[in-house]
């Protein structure tokens, strides 16, 4: 941690998020918070790296963007490749891809809630940051920590049994999948479901109890107006693998509905800022920055009419009955995440009991038929776009990726600003304020993991900056090895 200099707050590693980033909090002349920025300080360049590769390699290449949600990239990429081939994949392949994705949703959400956010809730925002982590949680609430590990493990097992490997499985390929599910694998997954459902129920009960005792904080935490984006089925129900785009405004009014994801460039535009390498997507018709929108679990549950599985739908309707939707507090990302785990587990059971799930009809062969392919899906952290342009031989000429964390870029800035305005009361950073800024970012569970993970790298930092641009105070939580 460095000494303060004069009028800006910079938080430099925000612990427990992926990659390399920085937060700056800007003060006005009166010393009040005027703005906050979440900077991504590493250039990605991944799209350029993919140019010249054969399109069929793209699922494997893009899956290596991330070690946490490679399944999402595999699937979005495979869907873009299907579009280049111009094929409809066999029904069993579609079922298996969705099963694969539900495993991913379970493990990723379990990691986010139990390991990253539960320490904030159960140990308290004002507790010592040195112990406000998974180890602190294990020491004080070992049963909760173990439940989180067990639930995540179940999701990982679904991925492994379906795709053959937990990380970077070469399972999804253009035209379908390259591995059928065996009866033994199906039964193994089914046998693990009751325990997984019990953990999900436990987590939801935990959150409900937290809300009862922290109602004001829950309702007001990083709360701000925004639009919301998510995929929905034709009947308006929750969808993660397929579906069409729906945008709602901050009051829940549907702005645009049933937009074909292949036409995403008609409704979404991107701009850049000189202080971040991450681009800033926005709703084209509303302009920048008014067209700011949120994606991810909260956005999905804010835009849908219902959920297709009974238990998750009951939880959704109960959650909505507490107040008029949509929910604007960032805290509700946690709640939405848990409802989505309930959905994922119910959906896994539905998929495993489908008569086609063990069919060997999983792949269709074809040659490239189109010059472009677009694959869109709901990754755990939000809507994910893969768009490839190819030449006649199938070589990639251009790539456009909009990842969930990119979609939430403007929203994360607003979340930090909201918390800073409430808790920054001086030209010095206090731990309690810093903890809440970090917790606001963690609601969005940003994933910047295209950055390397070499020994000795620093993930993030926070700076407090005055109107003249002078750095008043810098906080660096950790500079340890990675």
């Amino acid at each position: 941690m460095t000494e303060p200099s004069a009028n800006t707050i910079t938080i430099n590693p925000v612990t427990r998020i992926e990659g390399h980033a920085k937060i700056t909090i800007h003060l006005d002349d009166a010393g009040d918070v005027a703005d906050a920025r979440f900077h991504v300080v590493e250039f990605r360049g991944f799209e350029k790296f993919c140019e010249g590769r054969f399109f069929a390699e793209m699922p494997q290449i893009t899956a290596r963007i991330c070690g946490i949600c490679p399944v999402s990239h595999l699937l979005a990429s495979a869907k873009a490749c299907d579009a280049i081939l111009g094929v409809e994949i066999p029904r069993p392949a579609k079922l298996l891809r969705e099963l694969f994705h539900m495993g991913q949703l379970t493990q990723s959400h379990a990691l986010s809630f139990f390991h990253l956010s539960a320490p904030d809730l159960l140990l308290g925002f004002d507790s010592d940051p040195a112990s406000r982590n998974i180890m602190g949680l294990i020491q004080q609430h070992p049963d909760i920590a173990k439940r989180g590990i067990r639930l995540r493990k179940f999701g990982q097992e679904v991925i492994k049994l379906t795709g053959g490997r937990k990380i970077h499985a070469d399972f999804t390929v253009p035209g379908g999948v390259n591995k059928a599910l065996t009866n033994a694998e199906r039964n193994e997954m089914l046998s693990g479901l009751p325990e997984a459902k019990d953990h999900a129920t436990f987590a939801l009960d935990l959150l409900k109890k937290y809300q009862e005792s922290h109602l004001e904080e829950v309702e007001e935490f990083a709360c701000f107006d925004s639009n919301f984006l998510g995929l929905v089925q034709p009947d308006g129900s929750l969808e993660h693998y397929d579906g069409r785009l729906r945008f709602c405004d901050t009051k829940g009014n549907v702005l645009q509905d049933q937009i074909d994801p292949a036409n995403y460039l008609d409704v979404i535009a991107e701009t850049t800022e000189d202080w971040s390498y991450l681009k800033f997507p926005f709703i084209k018709s509303l302009g920048y920055p008014d067209g700011m929108y949120r994606v991810g679990p909260l956005a999905r549950l804010n835009v849908v009419d219902r959920i297709s599985t009974p238990r998750a739908d009951a939880e959704l309707q109960a959650w909505r009955s507490q107040s008029v939707p949509p929910r604007r507090s960032s805290f509700y990302y946690h709640w939405a995440r848990l409802i989505e785990i309930v959905y994922a587990l119910e959906r896994i059971e539905e998929l495993l009991r489908d008569r086609d799930i063990c069919s060997a009809d999983t792949l269709v062969n074809a040659r490239p038929a189109h010059e472009q392919g677009i694959g869109v899906m709901e990754a755990p952290r939000g809507t994910l776009f893969h768009h490839y342009w190819v030449d006649e031989a199938g070589r990639v000429e251009k790539v456009n990726l909009i990842v969930a964390t990119g979609n939430n870029n403007l929203a994360m800035n607003r979340a930090v600003k909201s918390v800073a305005q409430k808790y920054v009361k001086s030209r010095q950073l206090q731990e309690g304020m810093l903890n809440r800024v970090e917790a606001a970012i963690r609601c969005y569970d940003p994933c910047l993991s295209c950055s390397t993970h070499a020994v000795g790298q620093m993930p993030i930092r926070v700076e407090l900056i005055d109107r003249d641009g002078s750095v008043l105070h810098t906080l660096v939580r950790d500079q340890g090895t990675m």
Binding site: R16, G45, L116, N133, I149, H168, C450, A454, G480
Partner: protein, 160 residues
């Protein structure tokens, strides 16, 4: 002695993938009595995996500012606050393994300095050279030798 060699890093970021390269070269030697694993990054799942071994050898890249081109260090259980991210360190894993599963292996970390972390799958010349050096040293460690008494081995694991 049950040994795991675990190489990790981003295979698509040139020298950051050196852990994977070392594992590939060790696997080609067809050594007996050892298991190999690669990972994009270390996470909570690995705590349970390593708890099943007597010894774990981690292989990772190091940033260019690292003084030595290759270093070999004994890893101590040492959970750091930052590390409850999507990634963990070898020290985090040892402490998690001990706390959650009651035992942790002896652990060594081979850190190989990288120069080029841009997108790609090719090692820079120096990293390539020290990847081979790491393979040679790890192979020496893996050669069969008389096992120490079980009581002292458990003691070392506890403090690893």
């Amino acid at each position: 002695m049950k040994t795991l060699v675990l190489g990790y890093g981003n295979r698509s970021r040139n020298d950051d993938g050196v852990g994977w390269v070392v594992i590939e070269r060790l696997e080609a030697l067809e050594l007996s009595g050892v298991e190999f694993l690669t990972a994009h990054q270390l996470d909570v799942d690995h705590a349970e995996i390593i708890s099943r071994f007597d010894r774990v050898i981690f292989v990772d890249a190091a940033i260019p500012q690292t003084p030595l081109p290759m270093s070999r260090t004994d890893v101590k259980a040492n959970f750091r606050s930052h590390a409850v991210a999507h990634y963990l360190t070898p020290g985090d894993l040892l402490e998690l393994a001990t706390t959650l599963f009651g035992q942790a292996p002896r652990a060594i970390l081979f850190s190989i300095r990288g120069q080029d972390f841009n997108f790609g799958t090719v090692l820079s010349p120096e990293t390539e050279r020290y990847a081979n050096e790491a393979v040679r040293e790890i192979r020496q460690l893996l050669l069969p030798r008389p096992e120490p008494p079980s009581s002292s081995r458990r003691s070392e694991a506890t403090h690893a």
